[in-house]
């Protein structure tokens, strides 16, 4: 299936991390959150104003802005 940015993943849906587009500090931060390739991620809910979005990553609920989530490529599951 075609990979899409994590920010495009509809809420409630699961995806699997393919790769990270971010470089430098941003990449480190995403890796620190556990967003390494093959990790399953679920888009859980959006903030009332549409951004950021909360994602379930390895059991934790983490909010990411569109800019950061867009740096993560996932395949929907």
């Amino acid at each position: 299936m075609k990979a899409l940015p994590l920010s495009e993943l509809p809420t409630g849906q699961w995806g699997r991390v393919v790769s990270l587009k971010a470089r430098g500090m941003a990449r480190c931060r995403l890796l620190d959150l556990g967003l390494v390739p093959d990790t399953p991620v679920q888009a859980v809910r959006r903030s009332p104003l549409g951004d950021p979005t909360a994602y379930r990553i390895r059991g934790a609920l983490i909010a990411l802005r569109r800019e950061e989530a867009g740096q993560v490529l996932v395949t929907p599951l």
């Binding site: 480190c28 390739p37 809910r45 903030s47 950021p52 909360a54 909010a63």
Partner: protein, 466 residues
């Protein structure tokens, strides 16, 4: 026993020779991946998960951050917190004041029996003891209640949801939602709020959060805001709704503070702290029912008594200094009155008066003592009155010194927006390792407070509303 291999991998920089960027990336990714694989293996061995994710948590979270209800719930909870504080603090405050002023009489008797000179009695009893007693009786009950409510919301896991809801607004202002968390800490104490700014990774956004933290009223300023709204807003509302009206006026002031925070942040990120908002990652910890007993004990012991002790240690010597200023006369006028006279034109322009402005300046060591200083100033000419109820306070302000609702509004706005206390400024100097930023942290709010009060006072006066 097992061997944790991934953690022992040396960082790529430690290796010899030059590696190109792509290669470096790959090594880094592999390190992290190995660490996570190891962590997963350990977790699989030791962590046992019972049942699926709790359903109620998901539902509650959906409501707390819903498009329709997310923001109204935030404001209602804030309003409710103040309403409980206002209603609950009233009676214990009066009781405490009675007890402490009873103690003052006993203390006076001791001085009389020892045949102490009047100046010593004045300095110790009406200066130090009365100021400290005021701070305790006015601060302790609301603080104990408000801190407890806040600690319960914290324990519930609600505060990160606030940051989650409100992040887009801060993003527009050039910063990020974690600033909302540091602001929540600021409700307790701005010095604590400034220290909490360490959670913001970007140095630029951290500085903005530090410089604007004082726009949320700290615990030292709540009593002032609450007392003034109770006097000037409560009676104006329909009977039975006075405390409700007063609490939502305080919420209105806080919303004004948040608006000013956003505007100032926006201005700062376009001028002296130029830059674009950086990354924002925020963990939303699982919601859980607060452990009420433990939270209450911890909040009273760790926060309430701690802040109170600090306030009293500052208020007591400040009380002595102010008493001296009120009682040392120069050419027939006390130093306090002379100072107020000098400040009178500036005070008038801001909708205040000279004594109010002087009280804010002398209150620099701690915001808690602004109102006591003001009263000492107002009463320094005549006899000292025991201010043990809001009625007496109202009498002094309205009938004694011609306060109108505009005076009250401008005093509250100035209290909300003016320079932070000495402790906070000192903390800012320590956190930023720069005296320059500490000076900015005093100058920016002072300018904002002056501008807002001036604009409000002049508008209201030119419209002939007072």
């Amino acid at each position: 026993m097992f061997y944790v291999s991934g953690i022992n991998t040396a960082p790529p920089e430690a290796g010899p020779g030059v590696v190109n960027e792509a290669h470096q990336l790959e090594i880094r990714d592999r390190i992290v991946k190995t660490i996570y694989r190891e962590a997963e293996a350990i977790a699989a061995r030791v962590v046992r998960q019972t049942g699926p994710h709790r359903d109620w948590e998901h539902k509650v979270d959906d409501i707390l951050t819903s498009r329709l209800l997310g923001f109204p719930i935030m404001f209602l909870l804030l309003g409710l917190a103040f309403w409980i504080t206002l209603v609950g603090a009233n009676y214990p405050s009066q009781l405490l004041a009675k007890a402490l002023f009873w103690g003052e009489e006993r203390l006076s008797e001791v001085f009389v029996r020892l045949d102490a000179p009047p100046w010593l009695h004045g300095l110790v009893v009406t200066g130090v003891y009365r100021t400290a007693a005021w701070v305790v009786s006015v601060m302790l009950p609301p603080m104990a209640i408000f801190f407890s409510i806040f600690a319960l919301l914290e324990d519930l896991g609600y505060l990160p949801r606030v940051a989650f809801n409100i992040d887009p607004l801060f993003k527009m202002a050039g910063t990020q939602g974690k600033q909302a968390l540091t602001m929540s800490m600021g409700f307790g104490c701005n010095a604590a709020g400034v220290m909490a700014c360490r959670i913001i990774e970007s140095p630029r956004e951290r500085l903005i959060a530090i410089l604007t933290n004082n726009f949320v009223p700290c615990n030292g300023r709540f009593p002032t805001l609450i007392a003034l709204t109770s006097i000037f807003v409560g009676p104006a509302a329909a009977p039975g709704f006075s405390s409700l009206a007063a609490s939502f006026t305080v919420v209105g002031l806080i919303l004004a503070g948040i608006l000013i925070t956003l505007l100032t942040s926006w201005l700062l990120s376009r001028t002296i702290l130029k830059g674009v908002p950086t990354t924002f990652t925020l963990e939303l910890p699982p919601l859980r029912l607060p452990q009420v007993g433990r939270v209450l004990v911890r909040s009273v012991l760790d926060r309430t008594l701690f802040v109170l002790a600090r306030a009293v240690t500052v208020a007591a010597p400040a009380g002595a200094v102010v008493w001296l200023l009120a009682n040392i006369s120069f050419e027939g006028q006390s130093l306090l009155a002379r100072g107020a006279g000098l400040l009178e034109p500036f005070g008038r322009a801001l909708g205040l008066d000279g004594f109010i402005l002087l009280a804010f300046i002398l209150g620099l060591p701690a915001n808690e003592i602004v109102l006591p200083i003001l009263l000492m100033g107002y009463l320094s000419a005549g006899t000292m009155v025991e201010v043990d109820s809001l009625n007496v306070l109202q009498n002094i302000l309205v009938h004694g010194h011609g306060w109108t609702w505009l005076t009250a509004l401008c005093t509250m706005l100035f209290s909300l927006l003016h320079f932070p206390c000495g402790t906070t400024l000192f903390t800012i100097q320590r956190e930023t390792k720069s005296i320059r930023w500490a000076v900015w942290a005093a100058v920016i709010p002072l300018a904002v407070a002056g501008l807002v009060c001036f604009a409000v006072a002049q508008t209201v006066r030119s419209l002939g509303l007072v």
